[in-house]
């Protein structure tokens, strides 16, 4: 076991991006928190949401609706619009302070019942960023894992040590499937805390109430979500990692192309021969399965809109379905088979150096 931990350590030495990239994202978030521009920077507030706190009267809101209607009226020319909007200039000036608000200011002006949702969206967004970053790193890690040392011939050094190819492949598979999602989980939770602290400090200085950032149910939900995403990533992406590692072990050159082109060729062939997209749908299903399960089929980028009802509703049912689907279990079986083939290729691949 101790040997195995050294094999894992070796991967972290070689592929520093696994921890450097999330560290950089965290540093950027921290910087954003310190300067007050926390990650998404500015949030556009629905003016009606902010009416109460911004001292808007009912007349103002009626004007606002009229203003929006005119602005989006396509039957009017630009000149006519400008003419009609003139009388709202005063209102627009008064609304200026609602544009480009930082999150703590948004929290201060929106109604209490909408705050928890906004904060959840913020947490989900930083989590999504971390998982996207590490997902990308995991993709390239797997492609590189059994190719890099063949390219620079250091494979001859590793093979001069009394390590079996099974141990080597297993350690790399463990890093790609388990360690990288775990790093993402830890980084995501740290990111949530950085954002929470940043918004809290900024809000406290400005005198805004940001207690909702530390609302137990909100924090709990976001941590739970992080845990679920991590578990789902580990189980769901195991066959994908194994496939990429097989390409990495086998490819004479450019494992990227060897991994991508054959399935793409088959997709094209299917399209030409049968006019169908079954394979392509399968591929996107395997690649985006977790994302889709979390955010529904629309898979919109979270954090841009404040209305997150659908987003949060999608969480529960989709994930349960994902974990219990035959597709998940079958994927694990396929992953095991691919790893076995990868070990075989790693061991018996005849290099003509």
């Amino acid at each position: 076991m101790n040997r195995f931990s050294w094999l894992i350590r070796r991967e972290f030495w070689e592929h520093r991006a696994i921890w450097v990239a999330p560290a950089i994202v965290l540093a950027i978030l921290l910087l954003g928190a310190v300067t007050g521009n926390v990650f998404i920077g500015n949030v556009n507030v629905d003016h009606e949401d902010a009416a109460e706190r911004s001292g808007l009267t009912e007349q103002d809101i009626a004007d606002l609706r009229e203003l929006k209607r005119i602005a989006s009226d396509e039957s009017l020319s630009e000149a006519e619009k400008a003419e009609k909007l003139k009388k709202f200039e005063d209102l627009e000036t008064r609304l200026d302070h609602l544009e480009h608000l930082s999150p703590d200011e948004v929290l201060a002006v929106i109604p209490a019942e909408k705050r928890a949702k906004l904060v959840t969206v913020v947490y989900v967004a930083v989590t999504a960023v971390m998982f996207m970053v590490l997902g990308t790193i995991g993709f390239f890690y797997a492609l590189d894992s059994l190719y890099a040392d063949r390219r620079d011939r250091s494979v001859l050094f590793w093979k001069s040590l009394p390590l079996s190819d099974t141990e080597t492949v297993a350690s790399k598979f463990a890093v790609g499937v388990v360690a990288i999602p775990l790093v993402a989980a830890v980084a995501a939770i740290l990111a949530q805390l950085v954002v929470a602290v940043g918004i809290t400090v900024k809000g406290a200085i400005a005198g805004n109430d940001v207690g909702v950032m530390w609302d137990g149910s909100v924090l709990g939900a976001s941590m739970l979500l992080t845990g679920v995403v991590t578990a789902a990533s580990i189980l769901w992406y195991a066959p994908l990692v194994a496939y990429l590692m097989l390409a990495s072990a086998w490819a004479p050159k450019s494992p990227f192309l060897w991994a991508i082109l054959p399935p793409m060729a088959l997709v094209l062939l299917e399209k030409i021969a049968f006019g169908t997209n079954t394979l392509w749908q399968f591929i996107t299903y395997r690649v985006f399965g977790v994302v889709k399960a979390l955010f529904g089929d629309e898979s919109q980028v979270p954090g841009v809109v404040i209305r997150s009802d659908e987003l949060m509703q999608g969480t529960g049912s989709g994930i349960v379905e994902l974990f219990t689907s035959p597709s998940m279990l079958l994927g694990l079986v396929v992953a095991a088979a691919l790893v076995a083939v990868t070990v075989w290729v790693r061991r018996y691949r005849d290099e003509t150096i």
Binding site: W6, W13, L161, P162, I353
Partner: protein
């Protein structure tokens, strides 16, 4: 003494070319064997078969095991340096030493430290920051700290300057070789290894051309420097090769009557390089 390596009918084909063509040889414990041959002769192919890195036909036995099926087991007692460039470039000196210490049961960290302390290698450097010579020193320090029975060196000094090459073999002979360990080395620079070898294996086009100990060599082969006027007499004794020198004709004989040669001119043991050239030419003509 027991044989560490036994090969019989070792054959390896790449497409239509036979890199190894039914090669048979045995290497005993405590020998320092030079595997010598021109480019593409099959040296590296043979070494890779011995190290369990490639498939082969025929039978091969290394430390009592089939290397292809039991590579990671025989690696407990076998070390190899494939050539200077194979240490991963991204790794730090301290990391590679720690890693080998953790994964190799026969690695002796204190020995490695002792070798490294004599060099200018910084423990925190990455391999890519080291000079070529330093990388070899590092690799050698690691390998020599492994208490192995068989050490395989494939062109270990490629790309090093002459001082370092000399130093490399001196360290190997004086500090590593203890009379029990076995070393198998391939190199182009025959003259640099010949004084440390106990045995020679010449290989050409996948076949063994010569398999002899250095003592056999001195007994069987004679180098004769003869004056031009007596060269014809010497030619009648069937030399392996004839080379025109300054005021002398140099000839190389195998199993020739020593007394007659002594009468013709100055005799001596041929250098490995001369013998190599003579045998290669003979094998090819």
């Amino acid at each position: 003494m027991a044989n560490l390596i036994e090969a019989a009918g070792l054959t390896k084909t790449f497409g239509s070319t036979r890199a190894l063509d039914g090669v048979s040889f045995a290497i005993g414990e405590g020998r320092i064997v030079g595997l010598i041959g021109p480019n593409g002769a099959g040296k590296t192919t043979a070494l890779k078969a011995i190290l369990g890195l490639s498939r082969f036909e025929g039978s091969l036995n290394v430390l009592g095991k089939d290397p292809y099926r039991h590579r990671h087991q025989i690696m407990q007692e076998v070390c190899f340096i494939a050539d200077v460039a194979v240490l991963p470039r991204w790794i730090r000196v301290s990391q590679v030493v720690d890693f080998v210490a953790a994964t190799h049961p026969r690695f002796r960290p204190e020995v490695c430290e002792q070798f490294l302390s004599r060099t200018d290698i910084k423990r925190s450097s990455r391999v890519k920051e080291l000079s070529k010579g330093m990388v070899t020193q590092l690799h050698l320090a690691i390998v020599m700290a492994i208490d192995a029975r068989l050490l395989v060196l494939d062109e270990p000094t490629l790309g090093l300057d002459i001082l370092m090459r000399k130093q490399f073999y001196e360290t190997l002979l004086n500090e590593y070789f203890d009379g029990e360990r076995t070393i198998l080395v391939t190199t182009h620079q025959v003259e640099e290894v010949e004084h440390i070898l106990t045995d020679l294996l010449f290989i050409d086009r996948g076949r063994i051309v010569l398999d002899a100990s250095m003592e056999d060599l001195a007994a069987r082969y004679v180098q004769l420097a003869v004056r031009p006027d007596r060269a014809d007499e010497a030619r009648r004794l069937n030399p392996l090769s004839v080379r025109q020198g300054l005021g002398r004709v140099h000839m190389l004989f195998a199993d020739a009557p020593r007394e007659e040669l002594d009468k013709l001119g100055d005799t001596g043991v041929p250098s490995v390089a001369d013998l190599f050239v003579a045998l290669m030419q003979g094998a090819r003509s």
